[in-house]
């Protein structure tokens, strides 16, 4: 279990900068997520921590040991590869034993620990199977066992669930988190799946074109996205453009002028006071909008429904706001389904759910 510190990390491939001055501290025992669209540099950052890339600038520390130039095989990390990278010429048990053999553990201990690790990932008795005889889910478990059995300083996971079907993915989420917490492992998990990140992470970092855009807990990131890109990436949302009018009569809330009327909301960062006249963008999540009457909110969205999608637990509407954008409205446990029509209606959103972002 180590604290991982990354200082001013920069990496260029050819002419293009894939990581630019990344600073990050991952606490001991933390399950940390790197999240971002493909090509944002999240896997590159993970591979720097594993030691497969050497940065052009910057440093990486495991506790107070500088590992920037330490070759991969001396770092003591356990990595799960996206393709699992299981060796087809070795069977399941031989794959898992590999790291212990490199550590020159006595034969007895290796056998014992391999059996234990296979048991933990529920593959007991399959040690002599060939890799090709396993299903995708089983292969994924072998990869996990292989990374865990060496008792790594930290566990690195590179999109470990992306090759599994939806049901298995849900199961493995809980299981991986459980195993990490049980061993008190520092774990870094790369993914582009926001549900995975929100449901598993202690903290997460959102990346975009080689930079960290935001670091925080799932609730912080979801509720107070740092930028428009983060707001959109971490969940469904509606954007409304406008101009700040003034600070409202409620402390901490601001009035914003939009093409279809005034909206009142809070900033994503309490230290920021938008100046009157400043162009801003508002992020309003579909599930925060409702056709019910909210008495304590001035935020009204008059318009008509152009599309209705029934999803069982929820129903999604597309609302064409008068003089405004198309907005998504999501109602949970819907009792009455509203069909698309020209009839005037209006949706509302609480003041706390209208988040003001810098433009």
């Amino acid at each position: 279990m180590v604290t991982i510190t990354i200082q001013e990390l920069t990496k260029r491939f050819g002419g293009s900068v894939v990581l630019s001055s990344v600073n990050l501290q991952i606490e001991a025992g933390e399950l940390f997520f790197l999240l971002g669209p493909s090509g944002c540099g999240k896997t590159t950052l993970l591979r720097h921590i594993a030691g497969f890339y050497t940065p052009d600038e910057g440093k990486i520390w495991f506790d107070d040991e500088d590992v920037t130039r330490l070759p991969a095989h001396k770092r003591g990390t356990g990595m799960m590869f996206q393709s699992y990278a299981l060796w087809p010429h070795l069977n399941v048990a031989q794959n898992v034993a590999f790291g212990l053999e490199e550590r020159k553990r006595p034969r007895k201990e290796i056998e014992h620990r391999v059996a234990e690790a296979l048991d933990q990932v529920k593959l007991d008795g399959l040690g002599s199977r060939k890799i090709q005889q396993l299903s995708g889910g089983q292969q994924q478990r072998v990869a996990l066992a292989r990374a865990l059995v060496i008792r790594p300083k930290c566990l690195l996971l590179d999109e470990p669930l992306s090759n599994l079907d939806a049901k298995l993915r849900l199961e493995m989420r809980t299981e991986i988190r459980h195993i990490c917490k049980q061993h008190g492992l520092t774990a870094i998990y790369v993914t582009h799946d926001r549900d995975e990140a929100l449901s598993m992470a202690d903290r997460m970092a959102i990346m975009e074109v080689g930079k960290l855009v935001q670091v925080g807990t799932p609730t912080e990131v979801y509720r107070n996205p740092a930028t428009r890109m983060v707001a959109e990436f971490i969940g469904e949302t509606n954007f409304v453009e406008g101009r700040t009018l003034r600070e409202s009569s409620w402390a901490g809330f601001f009035d914003v002028e939009t093409p279809f009327g005034m909206l009142r909301g809070r900033t994503n960062d309490s230290s920021w006071q938008p100046a009157p006249g400043q162009p801003v963008v508002l992020s309003i999540r579909p599930e925060a909008m409702t056709f019910a009457n909210l008495t304590d909110s001035p935020n009204r969205f008059p318009g008509h429904i152009v599309d209705t999608t029934y999803l069982g637990p929820t129903v999604q509407y597309l609302l064409q706001v008068q003089n405004g954008p198309l907005m998504k409205v999501c109602e949970i446990n819907p009792q009455e389904i509203r069909p698309p029509s020209q009839e005037e209606t209006r949706a509302m959103a609480g003041m706390n759910d209208v988040v003001i972002l810098r433009k």
Partner: protein
């Protein structure tokens, strides 16, 4: 393609193979086992093992094959690792130059090596000039160590086959498999032995087998080194006897059995196909930038090996230009007369014309068959398509000399295929022999093409109303044309330089192809070797252009051409 057409191709191919691959082998075997009274006999086979001369020949062939394979591995593996892993000056150029040694049949290179290593050759002259050797007592390198000379010649000729296979296997390896080992604490050296090597073993094995069988049955090089104590040469010598002599057939049978045994044994140990390191690569492989001096060391290693490998060819070139090359490092004076004389010699022009004729027809036959086989095995799901593919690759594993003898046996007087002889003209026989032997190149390159072109492109054409055959003709064939051109070029040029079939099947000077003409020129007195060299240089340029062309078109897939 409609199912009935696929089945038709399958049947035609099977019939062709039965007639011109299985039957000749059977005919050779039959001749080896049938006594004068048409009864089954083991007398000839047992004579092969009882006769000390034949036993020695087999043993020597085996030794040559083992050392040639080991030598080729020792050169090719480090080269392949350097090329795939490291960035060094001149990397791309040197990689394409690796093919250089293949541009000459090694037996032509042997003329050059004799000029260099002979008693009055270039090496001795150099040593004498440097004061390292007594001019009165020059070492007879080739006389004392002819077997070593043969092995060196063959290693320098054949290592590219292993190189191509190993490099292809290495670059197909998912880098994550090695990274996973590094992540678990494995250092670079033990990573190579524990993960990389086992995973590329099928590729290395495929190349190694071809090298082994090739050198076990190689006839040209020992022939030019005047080394009669290997089986292939003994076989060649004995066909000058009466055609009724059963011993060449017995020898060939023994060779075939041994080749197959070696192949199967090594397949058992190394060819475990479940351990192929395939799978799609999930991370790009970063070539490692070496420190300047290490980078240049790689360059020097590559360039050095290539230089050594082309040294015999350099000898051939020098010989073809030299007026007089005796007891000096390089020839005294240069001349173009050999090229002029070569054109005037009765053998050369007709042999060039013959070779062009045989090879062009053979290429055509190989292309038609090859495209059919590749298409059926890649694109259809009919029963037996893998068998078809395997059949087409088999000629790589069967020694050329076995095939040549098979053809000879099946066209003897009174045999059902005697009409193929067309009197004494070996045209049909040689075309069929060349086509069968070079079919694997065409099949592999066409199959590579069909695999790259998505079947949905063809389906889209069918969806818009094209008949399956039309869709194949208008969409897929144009897209795989580069592969077909490459495969055809290779088939053509290797047919031009085919040795064993040419030596054995063409018996009359008027029908000699180039290779046999070169051989008989070497044997003739006077400026014969120089004329042979001039002819060899012509062939060398020809092959260089086609192989480099095929290499450019096929890229890394070139390695797959030399795989059983």
């Amino acid at each position: 393609m409609s199912k009935s057409l696929s089945i038709l191709i399958f049947l035609v191919m099977t019939a062709f193979f039965a007639c011109f691959f299985a039957y000749p082998i059977w005919a050779a075997l039959e001749a080896a086992f049938r006594g004068p009274d048409h009864k089954f006999t083991l007398e000839y086979i047992s004579e092969v093992f009882l006769n000390e001369l034949y036993r020695e020949g087999l043993w020597n062939s085996f030794i040559i094959a083992v050392w040639t394979t080991l030598g080729s591995l020792a050169i090719a593996l480090p080269l392949a690792v350097c090329y795939v892993r490291f960035a060094f000056p001149g990397r791309a150029l040197l990689n394409s130059l690796v093919l250089m040694p293949m541009i000459l049949p090694p037996f032509v290179g042997a003329i050059g090596i004799k000029a260099m290593l002979g008693q009055a050759g270039a090496l001795n002259s150099l040593l004498i000039n440097l004061g390292l050797m007594d001019a009165m007592h020059p070492t007879d390198w080739l006389g004392q160590q002819r077997m070593l000379g043969i092995i060196i010649m063959e290693v320098l000729h054949l290592y590219p086959i292993i190189y191509l296979n190993a490099a292809a296997a290495l670059s197909n390896l998912d880098p994550a498999l090695e990274e996973a080992a590094a992540n678990l604490g494995c250092n670079a050296w033990s990573r190579f032995w524990r993960v990389t090597l086992p995973l590329i073993m099928p590729g290395v094995f495929a190349g190694g087998t071809i090298v082994f069988v090739w050198s076990f049955t190689e006839m040209g090089v020992p022939l030019l080194f005047d080394y009669d104590r290997v089986t292939a040469v003994q076989v060649f010598r004995s066909i000058n006897d009466l055609s009724g002599n059963p011993f060449p057939y017995a020898l060939v049978t023994v060779m075939l059995v041994f080749s197959t045994l070696f192949y199967l044994t090594s397949k058992l140990f190394f060819g475990n196909s479940s351990a192929s390191g395939g799978g799609r690569a999930t991370t790009g492989r970063e070539t490692i930038k070496l420190p300047v001096w290490l980078g240049w060391a790689c360059t020097a290693f590559f360039a050095g090996v290539t230089f050594l490998a082309v040294l015999p060819h350099l000898g051939v070139v020098l010989l073809s230009f030299s007026k007089d090359w005796y007891g000096t490092v390089i020839p005294h004076s240069l001349t173009l007369t050999h090229y002029h004389d070569a054109l005037g010699h009765e053998l050369t022009l007709s042999s060039i014309a013959n070779s062009l004729k045989y090879s062009a027809l053979a290429m055509l036959v190989a292309l038609i068959l090859g495209i059919g086989v590749a298409y059926v095995s890649v694109r259809t799901r009919i029963w037996g398509r893998q068998i078809l593919d395997a059949m087409a690759m088999l000629p790589l594993a069967v020694p050329g000399i076995v095939m040549a003898f098979g053809y000879l046996a099946m066209t003897r007087e009174g045999q059902p295929f005697h009409w193929l002889m067309l009197g004494e003209d070996p045209l049909l026989l040689l075309v069929i022999a060349y086509a069968v032997r070079r079919l694997p190149y065409v099949v592999r390159s066409a199959a590579a093409g069909f695999q790259q072109v998505s079947p949905t492109l063809e389906e889209a054409a069918q969806n818009l109303g094209a008949r399956p055959e039309k869709a194949l003709w208008r969409i897929t064939l144009p897209l795989v044309a580069p592969n077909l051109v490459a495969g055809g070029l290779l088939a053509f040029s290797f047919a031009m330089l085919e040795v064993s079939d040419s030596m054995i099947l063409a018996q009359q000077a008027a029908h000699f192809p180039i290779t046999k003409a070169i051989y008989s020129l070497v044997l003739s007195l006077g400026s014969g070797p120089n004329l042979a060299s001039a002819l060899g240089v012509w062939a060398m340029i020809f092959l260089a252009v086609t192989i480099l062309g095929a290499g450019v078109i096929l890229g890394k897939k070139l390695g797959a051409l030399f795989r059983v």
